[in-house]
Symmetry: C2
Subunit: 522 residues, 2 copies
């Protein structure tokens, strides 16, 4: 392109001549928010461009690459795998062969019912049907890529699932899938995975209807000190990539996006820790809305009431509360020594109760406590870790415990006494927690001590909302209620599948299935 033609365009703009023709274009031909083909010069060409390198992105890339497509994966962070590599590695597979082997009866209908119950009935059932139908394929595909699962023992029953239907990777981490799948993709000819490569915008066809590429920056350095990395970070060098078959958005959720998460839930403080990696921001999702993607269930942010302010991320607290102080002991408001919730209620109910306190006093983290009998056998190892790190503390007396957390000691003692009486006299305590005396013991919290205690706060964990896709992983347009040509999405950046609340171990299933489906259909 010569300097002359550039000047002629500029002059035309300056003189205000350009646009008279465009005024006669129909609405569907109107300019797109994103740059269009005529605005850009492509630096490189691929068949498929995948944004993100978690479960969904890698499955999409692997499937596309397997079909012979030239694939570019753009990962904005310095390492591959987003939240997926810090995931616990559990994958729900309804009605799977391992269940049959161990005599566990399951059905897709049971799976839908479990998801709809947790999702408060607003799940997009066609998406549940898709992931149920393809879950075992996705498992097989992951295995083909090199993932290894604990398939020599019965599947696990995760919370909210009516049967044991989840298999776990051998290393009990999502990295057990991510690492082999990334290696699988990179080995295929014509495939490229670039880290520190941040997508900035979609490139649209000149008529504004079709996604034909992306603008991006390479050598990008994510900066977790910025309020909004997406808005403020100017690092990196610009590149424009053409995607001949289309773009697959697999950029994940936004639990670390201070701006967007606060709009949805203003209770989340800007300095709130989460269970997510730093890069879990909404930038790419918000760009998708600007080319017509539809927002779905955007404000359902699942927050873990079992997390602790005394460690980063997921940590040890979820285990030692869920299988310990929450289950057998109590959680108290430090300001008055009283209980304030059913410690085993659903995540939202408990996080809401904690926020009532924390909005009144942001540092009044509730304290959960119990005695040694307050821990399931399988959390003892984690208990030791939590004690070593200081997340869990041990006290000889309730007075010492109360003094440490500045809880009124007499009120705390009265609370413990009442809880023990409730457990002894009833199967349901005053907060409707099921407390069977034969399990909880005569003295649920042993007054002789020693006492174990830790502080809790809700931590954003998973963002249910995102953009709307159909069962081919095509992104639906607000302007047509039909797919946006050349635009696919998968994983946490999509919304609808899990409704108001995703069940544990369903993320891997959702991400792998929809990633794979995107790769098959693009």
């Amino acid at each position: 392109m010569s300097q002359e033609t550039i000047m002629s365009r500029r002059d035309a703009l300056k003189l205000g001549f350009v646009g008279a023709g465009a005024a006669m274009l129909s609405a569907s031909q109107a300019m797109a928010a994103a740059p269009t083909e005529k605005d850009v010069k492509f630096d490189e060409e691929y068949d498929v461009i995948v944004i993100g390198s978690g479960f969904a992105g890698l499955a999409a890339a692997a499937k596309s690459a397997e079909r012979g497509y030239k694939v570019l994966i753009l990962e904005k962070m310095g390492r591959v795998g987003g939240n997926s590599v810090i995931n616990g590695g559990g994958m729900a597979i309804p009605n799977n062969p391992l269940q049959k082997k161990y005599g566990i009866e399951d059905s897709n209908e049971k799976f839908y019912a479990d998801c709809l119950k947790a999702g408060l009935g607003i799940n997009h059932v066609e998406m549940l049907e898709l992931i149920a139908k393809r879950a075992f394929d996705a498992f097989d595909f992951a295995v083909k890529c090199g993932a290894q699962f604990q398939d020599d023992k019965p599947p696990l029953q995760f919370g909210g699932h009516s049967v044991a239907r989840s298999v776990v990777t051998k290393n009990a981490s999502g990295s057990g899938i991510i690492q082999p799948m990334a290696a699988f993709v990179e080995k295929l000819p014509g495939c490229k995975l670039v880290t520190r490569a941040k997508m900035d915008d979609f490139v649209m066809s000149n008529d504004g209807t079709t996604v034909i590429g992306v603008t991006a920056r390479i050598n990008y350095r994510f900066d977790n000190k910025l309020y909004s990395d997406d808005i403020e970070n100017k690092t990196g060098e610009k590149k424009v990539y053409r995607a001949k078959k289309g773009v697959i958005l697999a950029s994940g959720g936004f639990a670390m996006d201070k701006m967007f998460r606060k709009m949805q839930d203003p209770r989340i403080p800007d300095d709130a820790d989460t269970t997510n990696h730093d890069g879990a921001t909404a930038g790419a999702l918000l760009k998708a809305f600007q080319i017509g993607a539809l927002p779905v269930h955007i404000d359902w942010i699942q927050q873990g009431p079992w997390a602790s302010p005394d460690e980063r991320g997921f940590g040890t607290s979820p285990h030692v509360t869920q299988g310990g102080t929450f289950k057998y002991g109590i959680s108290v408001d430090v300001r008055n020594g009283k209980r304030f919730m059913n410690e085993m209620a659903d995540r939202k109910t408990r996080a809401d109760a904690q926020y009532v306190i924390l909005r009144q006093d942001p540092k009044a983290y509730p304290v959960s406590l119990g005695t040694y009998n307050s821990f399931d056998q399988n959390v003892i190892e984690t208990l030791d870790k939590a004690l070593a790190s200081g997340v869990m503390k041990k006290f000889d007396t309730l007075d010492a415990l109360a003094a440490n957390y500045k809880i009124p000691a007499d009120a705390l003692k009265a609370t413990v006494k009442k809880y023990n009486e409730d457990v002894k006299n009833s199967v349901v305590d005053e907060f409707k927690k099921q407390t069977l005396p034969e399990i909880y013991g005569k003295e649920a919290i042993e007054m002789k001590g020693p006492f174990y205690a830790s502080r809790q706060m809700p931590k954003p964990h998973h963002t249910m909302g995102g953009l709307k896709i159909n069962t081919k992983a095509q992104v639906i347009s607000a302007n047509t209620n039909k797919p946006i040509p050349g635009f696919f999405a998968a994983g946490e950046v999509t919304g609808g599948t899990h409704g108001a609340s995703r069940l544990g171990s369903c993320a891997i299933t959702d991400c792998l299935v929809c990633g794979m489906v995107a790769g098959e259909n693009i």
Copy 2:
């Protein structure tokens, strides 16, 4: 503009020359989804363009017009006022002079607490502060425009409000505000209100940053037979309007938008009736997202569990259930004759319970019933109306009632008997409904009859979600976290203020205040 310049643009496009210069523009200068200045030719120029003629739109227009601005109001329907004219006319004004006159103590803090409780804590508090601070101004402004209120009696206490703080228009309808305000606006010089004028898109400045007008169609005929009027309706003639000061979006909620409401809550059948007017669709909101407006709380759709499938819209059923069969009687699942909810729980809990039944059998509308003692004195007039219209039916015996609704008669009788026993023996029934025997009587449902019954279904009533505005009613951009220049919004098209659930009589306050604020700040 000569034919020559048009051709030169066309040729440039054809030859692929245009755009080389644009490739060198920075991201912030990229083309907008909406047409930009150079793409259009303005037919008319105004200072302010307001989209929608409900409470928010008219308040915005009135305030702008009062400042001397030339204002154009575009109303897509054939009549003025959207949902506002079918609103009940109640306006919450925290801490108002009428309360003082009648010795009712109130405070802004009490108002925030009430809203946050209903809103499940996710309300944007700065917006609550704004509407509390300006509520009385808005009332005054409405009165100045000619609205008349029942100010000769104490304010009313609407559900969820901790004190009586709501005033009602003299005709107990939102039309008592809309009609005088529309007349006020039209009387001001330079103001124009056009009905059957549908906004299609925003027009942006050439650098894509600023809203400078809209494209629209006049002589538009809304068609409620289309699945999506916004997408399918092609009626009307195109016009392009410049807005020198900016555009105020006051296009309302989307409870009648089959496509978008189903994405947020798939339980809502496409043929579901609502309490809204036909034109309550998401079209303008979805266009706003495409120029960078941020979606907030999009999926909270308040549905009225007190509505009936046997009448259109709001109707009589809300009164004769809330002050009648729900309060003193019971609601049963017609398939088994059993109760299935606390008939006085919050709206969401009850609508959820009804949907569990209706998703299993879409025609199994639950039936609520009681005897004459099941009605508060102030609903007797409505009861007569409901009986006359056939929404409420009267039966001599439970057998006749059961036969009519195909309820197993023996099961129904057992349910009524158990309810009467529960009320007699306890102050809280099995569904945790507070049933004080001294109020409910020895026999809550009198076995001698006659029996009154009606069918219920949840009807979408108010969409809490929308786009994010600040306290100046400026629309916030996803790309900058700052206001989009020239773009304001007010009313149900915005989200955040009411969190998960809006309290009754807060809509008028919100809409008038934010409309007024938009008109003041534009």
